[in-house]
């Protein structure tokens, strides 16, 4: 009896380095208005069964942040709640709600107002374990540096291949009107930018951006009434590896492997390399794109660097990866990052990606990692076909 789930409406404000002219409430209102219009003009006061927002207090600067969200997305005195996680896990939650059969239209929201945060690094640091990790007193991104060293060692990938990811994604972002950080940079630019957390240089790390996204998810029957172009959520998975960094397998993104397994299983995908047409994945640090490609089994272990070097992951390559520009090009949007991976996947499937449109996009994979110091991530398999 259970129906399939689709994305029936998308609204995005676009991403920019700073948004001083609007408050986060006004940003959310714009994204919501666009999404409801896109979803056949639904009225959130009447037509939405539940609202899922994604936020963390310390990114916003307000405790119990869910207090501040209902009005601007039409959920005052309605069934809304907050998931303290990335937007893609919010999407997974909406998916579960619809699968229960009790909810047919569910809204998911996430935004980034990173520019309002003056001590961003200190807040990232605040997520580290207070007893074992914070006392080391180092900038928290050393986590990424440690992982990259191990990854390069285990897979034989090179720093140049990681730098190539940056070149590709920032160039792709120039074709994306939503992206904040499109740029023409060279391999040398990346390799010669200031060393930050060896082996990461400044340009290996995605800069932040502000923006808001709202999506309308619906059950099969409801989606078909709301839109001509439903994007089917064929599979969704999410996973958390150990919270103890000391116990992690540093070369592998285990959370991504397990989340992908879960998503592929539901989607009925047995051979990702053949059945997936493109991917929009987490490249918050350059090496992450390679590590995640391998974890998602979109290439063999150790091969991602080579594929990148050979241009296979360019827009016109065999497996376009981050045609949108990824996080490096669009901007790291904190908890909205996962939703913007889904957004770009959905736009491709709807044929609405404009200058960065991939040909024959039928099945795409969106993936996110929750960032330092977590080992949590999610994967979504989206398609133009319902089954």
């Amino acid at each position: 009896m259970s129906e399939e789930v689709a994305i029936a409406g998308i609204g995005c404000t676009g991403f920019k380095s700073i948004t001083p002219d609007v408050s986060y409430k006004e940003l959310m209102f714009e994204a919501a208005t666009r999404a409801y219009q896109d979803a056949g003009g639904i009225n959130p006061r009447k037509d939405v069964d539940a609202f899922v927002t994604c936020a963390e207090d310390y990114w916003e600067g307000h405790s119990i942040f869910d207090e501040f969200v209902p009005d601007q997305i039409g959920a005052a005195l309605r069934h809304l709640f907050t998931v303290s996680s990335d937007g893609m896990i919010g999407l997974a939650t909406a998916y579960m709600l619809i699968k229960t059969g009790e909810f047919s239209t569910v809204v998911v929201e996430a935004h980034s107002k990173a520019s309002d945060v003056t001590t961003f690094t200190d807040i990232v640091n605040f997520a580290l374990d207070p007893i074992f990790n914070r006392p080391l007193g180092a900038h928290p991104h050393y986590f990424a540096g440690l992982e990259m060293t191990r990854f390069l060692h285990e897979t034989g990938s090179t720093r140049e291949q990681c730098a190539q990811v940056v070149v590709k994604n920032r160039k792709n972002a120039l074709c994306n009107p939503y992206a904040a950080h499109g740029a023409q940079i060279t391999l040398e630019d990346v390799l010669q930018s200031e060393p930050y957390f060896y082996p990461l240089n400044r340009l290996d790390i995605s800069p932040v951006a502000d923006g808001g996204i709202v999506m309308v998810l619906a059950s099969e029957n409801a989606a078909k009434k709301l839109t001509d172009k439903p994007v089917w959520v064929r599979g969704i998975g999410w996973n958390s590896d150990t919270s103890w960094p000391e116990s992690r397998e540093w070369g592998r993104a285990v959370y991504a492997e397990l989340a992908a397994e879960m998503a592929y299983k539901t989607a009925g995908i047995r051979n990702p390399q053949k059945e997936v047409d493109f991917a929009e994945i987490d490249d918050s640090f350059s090496y992450k794109e390679l590590q995640h490609l391998e974890a998602l089994k979109l290439c063999r272990k150790g091969e991602a660097g080579k594929l990148t070097e050979e241009g296979e992951t360019e827009i016109d390559g065999d497996l376009p990866v981050n045609a949108s520009g990824g996080l490096l090009g669009m901007g790291y949007a904190i908890e909205a990052s996962g939703l913007h991976r889904v957004l770009e996947t959905a736009l491709q499937l709807r044929g609405e990606a404009g200058k960065h449109q991939i040909c024959n996009a039928k099945t795409g994979v969106a993936q996110i990692w929750r960032g330092v110091p977590t080992a949590t991530g999610a994967v979504a398999v989206l398609s133009t076909e319902v089954k």
């Binding site: 948004t19 001083p20 002219d21 609007v22 408050s23 986060y24 409430k25 006004e26 209102f29 409801y36 009225n43 959130p44 006061r45 310390y58 600067g61 209902p70 009005d71 601007q72 039409g74 005052a76 107002k113 520019s115 309002d116 945060v117 003056t118 001590t119 200190d122 807040i123 605040f126 207070p130 007893i131 914070r134 006392p135």
Partner: protein
């Protein structure tokens, strides 16, 4: 089938520690003071609100569909879910919707002079459009529900564009 009857459970986990044990260092502790700072963009609605407060005025936004006059102002009507349509000033007088009298500070320590806090429904705004503020120039035992009050503003030079540009409300 295993069913542990809660009535039969003798021990619930958890080891209590006294605050004095912690202060006296009998328990190992780690201290950390987070450096957490924000500069929130006030956005279109609240920027105007704060600017008007500096001018000694309270401004609201209006929605043509439901007819409400809203304070604090907002660029969207949350009931109709549409952009608000215009701006209008409301009065700096109102009635007490509810009040209470605080004898403690934010960190739960006691304060000498009690603070009277109230939700004041502003005249000129829609029914029930209240704001939170403090009251003064009145014995706390004499405050009444529904009593009429008036804002006492800081002198123009001292106003910075904040809700505290109104010092407090007093009986009208």
């Amino acid at each position: 089938m295993k069913n542990k009857m809660s009535a039969k459970i003798k021990e619930y986990p958890g080891e209590e520690v006294k605050s004095s044990d912690i202060k006296e260092g009998k328990v190992l502790t780690v201290r950390y003071r987070p450096n957490v700072k924000y500069m929130w963009s006030t956005g279109v609605a609240m920027s105007r609100f704060l600017k008007e407060l500096k001018n000694g005025k309270i401004i609201a936004t209006t929605c043509n569909k439901c007819g409400r006059i809203m304070v604090p102002p907002r660029m969207f009507c949350e009931q109709c879910f549409k952009p608000t349509d215009g701006w209008t000033y409301v009065k700096d007088t109102g009635t007490v919707n509810t009040y209470s009298v605080s004898f403690i500070a934010g960190d739960a320590s006691r304060i000498k002079e009690p603070i009277i806090v109230a939700v004041i429904d502003l005249d000129g705004a829609s029914k029930g459009m209240g704001i939170l503020h403090t009251m003064s120039e009145i014995d706390w035992k004499k405050v009444k529900f529904g009593m009429k009050v008036k804002a006492v503003w800081k002198p123009e030079k001292e106003r910075t564009g904040a809700i505290t540009d109104i010092k407090y409300f007093k009986p009208a």
